[in-house]
């Protein structure tokens, strides 16, 4: 089985990158690819608890991300340096994640067949 690591670096609502990354993860998972996601840089903001799109006409990124484990997208990794730089901690996040550091990215890449930043 092929494996894919997606490195998600973009904040959730300023562009459609976050939603489109989730679509890629689900598509790859549907093709039996083992998909992992690493949230780093502004990408960690996608995981913030309490996103409320009731009044904005946007798709709720938090809600869609929470479905990833059901599609066997795992692990969900988070760069704890990026969290700390934004005054955030694991308790601000909406799902169980595995923590890593920025310097682990190269070693992580080596474990997967393909890597995509988005």
């Amino acid at each position: 089985m092929a494996s894919l690591l997606m490195i998600c670096r973009k904040a959730p609502y300023g562009s459609s990158y976050a939603r489109e990354a989730i679509d890629i993860a689900l598509a790859a998972s549907a093709f039996e690819v083992k998909v992992a996601m690493l949230f780093t840089d502004d990408g960690v903001l996608q995981l913030l608890k309490g996103q409320n799109t009731a009044n904005t006409g946007s798709k709720n990124v938090e809600a869609v991300l929470s479905s990833l484990p059901l599609y066997e997208v795992a692990p969900i990794l988070v760069n704890e340096d990026a969290l700390a730089q934004r005054n955030l901690s694991v308790s601000d996040l909406n799902m169980a994640v595995e923590l890593c550091r920025a310097k682990d990215v190269s070693a992580l890449c080596a474990q997967y067949d393909r890597v995509l930043t988005i």
């Binding site: 092929a2 489109e20 679509d23 598509a27 690819v33 393909r114 995509l116 930043t117 988005i118």
Partner: protein
């Protein structure tokens, strides 16, 4: 997407097999047939079209990115009752499965994000 085109040309010129070019996010605008370039500047959609025709390269616009940004072919124009279609013929509108397939069969993926 000028960089992506120059890279694709160099890859083909050096004997690489280019399996597919997948246009995603804002890059789906590269398939817009209505693009009018200023006289002294390159028309990027047409340059990609020539490249694809010359080298028989498969080019796909991500359909969900494209619909959100108003790039449609005849099939989608009919489905949504639009007055016309603006996707260039050389580009297929298709799903992310096309990206996944390309990833699985290719040795390398190059991403041009800016």
């Amino acid at each position: 997407m000028t960089s992506a085109l120059r890279f694709a040309e160099a890859a083909v010129a050096s004997g690489h097999d280019l399996f597919r070019v997948f246009f995603f996010h804002d890059a789906v605008a590269t398939g817009n047939a209505y693009t009018i370039a200023p006289q002294d500047q390159e028309n990027l959609p047409k340059a990609w079209q020539s490249f694809a025709q010359q080298h028989k390269v498969d080019m796909v616009l991500c359909i969900s990115s494209a619909l959100r940004r108003g790039i449609v072919n005849k099939r989608e124009a009919e489905r949504y009752s639009l007055s016309g279609a603006n996707a260039l013929d050389s580009f297929d509108l298709s799903g992310l499965g096309q990206w996944v397939e390309a990833m699985l069969v290719s040795d390398r993926i190059m991403t041009f994000g800016a």
